[in-house]
């Protein structure tokens, strides 16, 4: 019996002003994968994530846990998503605890999403019918990202790395089966990056959470991902990371493509 894929993307195209930002791509993600998506700036990684989350109109077909259309909408709230940057008022009167607890809002559609995931043949051990505020869950999520000591700190007072970990805790608190991280360590110092990657490794291996993660950092991808997708509008590789890193032609192609994009960005 084949296990339902967490994500199926088929012939996906997203256009901005008739120019493709994502050009006819297809790939799938299996449960337990830690898929690293690499590509230069402007390669369409964020656009791809926004399309998966239903924030961006597209042509093609996307299935989450085998579902599409209206059932798809019930599942999206169960995905943990950490965008590249979350903008908020610097003086926003919310503590780390307040922000993480925002991940726990109960809604009928979320309950429906939980039922839908339980019906598909993915292995999800959470048996609750509704997702409600639960102090233990928040504490556990803060523990996973190593921020228990900062739970009462106002978010405006945190560093970039701490803030990213808060948003991961917010995404984790609802026990997602899928976590999407958009360049999570951009503008984070090296020490925080290492902590952050260890958190990713833990939640992928111990909590069996599927992760899709975009990055420019080939070293990190080679250490922490098990599969790689390489894209620049189109996907030109998708498969096991060992295959990608052992293929010198592919690596050369990626490096050249990144350099070209880097030069292009500097020229403009």
């Amino acid at each position: 019996m084949s296990v339902t894929n967490v994500l199926d993307v088929k012939d996906l195209t997203v256009n901005y002003d008739n120019l493709p930002a994502v050009d006819n791509i297809s790939f799938d993600v299996k449960q337990g994968d830690c898929l690293g998506i690499i590509g230069p700036n402007g390669a369409g990684k964020t656009t791809l994530f926004r399309a998966i989350l239903g924030l961006q109109p597209y042509s093609g077909n996307i299935k989450l846990f085998g579902y599409e259309d209206s059932k798809y909408d019930s599942i999206v709230p169960l995905i943990g998503y950490v965008p590249q940057k979350v903008t908020f008022e610097p003086n926003f009167p919310a503590t780390v605890y307040d922000v993480v607890s925002m991940g726990l809002i109960s809604d009928k559609r979320i309950v429906q999403g939980v039922k839908l995931i339980q019906q598909c043949d993915c292995c999800w051990n959470r048996i609750y019918q509704s997702i409600e505020k639960n102090d233990d869950k928040i504490t556990q999520a803060l523990h996973t990202v190593g921020l228990e000591s900062l739970r009462n700190r106002r978010i405006g007072e945190l560093s970039g790395g701490e803030l990213q970990r808060v948003f991961i805790a917010k995404a984790l608190v609802k026990d997602p089966l899928l976590l999407i991280l958009d360049e999570p360590v951009a503008s984070v110092d090296v020490e925080s990056q290492t902590k952050f990657y260890n958190v990713i490794k833990t939640i992928n291996e111990q909590n069996n959470i599927t992760i899709i993660w975009s990055s420019h950092d080939l070293d990190a991808i080679s250490k922490y991902a098990n599969r790689v997708a390489c894209m620049n509008k189109k996907i030109f590789f998708h498969g096991e990371k060992e295959k990608f890193f052992s293929d010198k032609e592919l690596l050369k192609m990626y490096t050249e493509s990144s350099m070209q994009m880097h030069m292009h960005n500097h020229e403009h």
């Binding site: 989350l53 924030l55 019930s74 999206v76 709230p77 995905i79 998503y81 965008p83 979350v86 903008t87 908020f88 008022e89 003086n91 926003f92 009167p93 919310a94 503590t95 605890y97 307040d98 922000v99 607890s101 925002m102 991940g103 809002i105 809604d107 559609r109 979320i110 999403g113 505020k133 009462n152 106002r154 007072e157």
Partner: protein, 284 residues
């Protein structure tokens, strides 16, 4: 002297209604200020002026027409922001002047400014009837109950609308519920400080509370406390000095804001323990 003032029925009603209004303005104001809707109160109050003029013109109870017109004004404002690229402050300006213009036309055609209209413009908390007090209390209880029930959703929506949408919230519906609630808050509060000063009660206690650098619940609590202190002391001071209560309330609120900013600049504010305000702590 204070006991003597409190023995008067009109003072009791003013204080009870004033405290209720102080609480709803500061609670609603927390979300309005954070969503950069600070002048929403001003905009809706001016629309309410148009609504009051309609009531006076038609000879019906002006507060009801003010409620209806303001709710539609609030919904129109939200629609204007969502379906056009007009920014929030410009949309408020459009709605504000539209309400005012309609009001001016109707007032001029019904024989000019009356005492009734002045009481709405500048507030008339000392003149409110028992029925008005009951209505303000009932509406305030409804607003506080709704805000308490929806506070998680409104907080998430205020923090980041896209994240709220991804969390499965019906953001469009919540946005409309938000402006309707804010419109009712503004019209309910008009009797206290009047159309021209309503924004002060929504904005100032919240800006002051945010200087304390606390989390959401504590900030709402501090804001409500500042608001109630301003209203109660404003009504009492205005009684003893025989000046307008609306202006006095706002001047006191501004005074508390200035005092807080001065404390903050000296570094003392960060050391005040909210659970035990008389104690200075050495929190980092």
């Amino acid at each position: 002297m204070i006991l003597e003032a409190l023995s008067y029925g009109f003072m009791q009603k003013a204080l009870i209604a004033g405290i209720a209004v102080g609480l709803i303005c500061s609670f609603m104001g927390t979300f309005l200020v954070l969503r950069r809707y600070s002048l929403f109160g001003d905009g809706i109050a001016h629309v309410a002026f148009g609504g009051i003029s309609v009531g006076l013109f038609l000879g019906v109870f002006p507060l009801w027409t003010a409620f209806i017109v303001s709710i539609f004004g609030g919904l129109g404002l939200q629609k204007l922001r969502q379906s056009t690229k007009i920014s929030g402050d410009s949309a408020v300006a459009v709605v504000l002047v539209s309400g005012l213009a309609v009001g001016v036309i109707l007032v001029s055609s019904s024989g000019g400014f009356s005492v009734d209209l002045f009481s709405f413009l500048f507030g008339s908390i000392l003149l409110i009837s028992q029925e008005d007090t009951i209505m303000i209390l009932a509406l305030s209880a409804g607003i506080i109950a709704t805000l308490t029930i929806l506070q998680k959703q409104f907080l998430h929506l205020t923090f980041n609308e896209e994240q709220a949408k991804l969390a499965g919230m019906r953001t469009t519906l919540l946005n409309y519920a938000f402006v309707v609630l804010a419109s009712i808050t503004v019209v309910t509060s008009m009797r206290l400080v009047g159309i021209l000063l309503i924004s002060a009660l929504i904005v100032i206690p919240n800006i002051t509370a945010m200087q304390f650098g606390k989390g959401f619940k504590k900030t709402v609590f501090i804001s409500m406390s500042i608001s109630v202190i301003s209203v109660v002391s404003g009504i009492l001071v205005s009684y003893f000095l025989n000046v307008a209560p609306s202006g006095t309330i706002v001047v006191i609120a501004v005074g508390i804001l200035i005092g807080t900013l001065l404390l903050k600049s000296t570094g003392l504010l960060g050391k005040i323990d909210i659970k035990n305000p008389s104690k200075l702590t050495h929190n980092s």
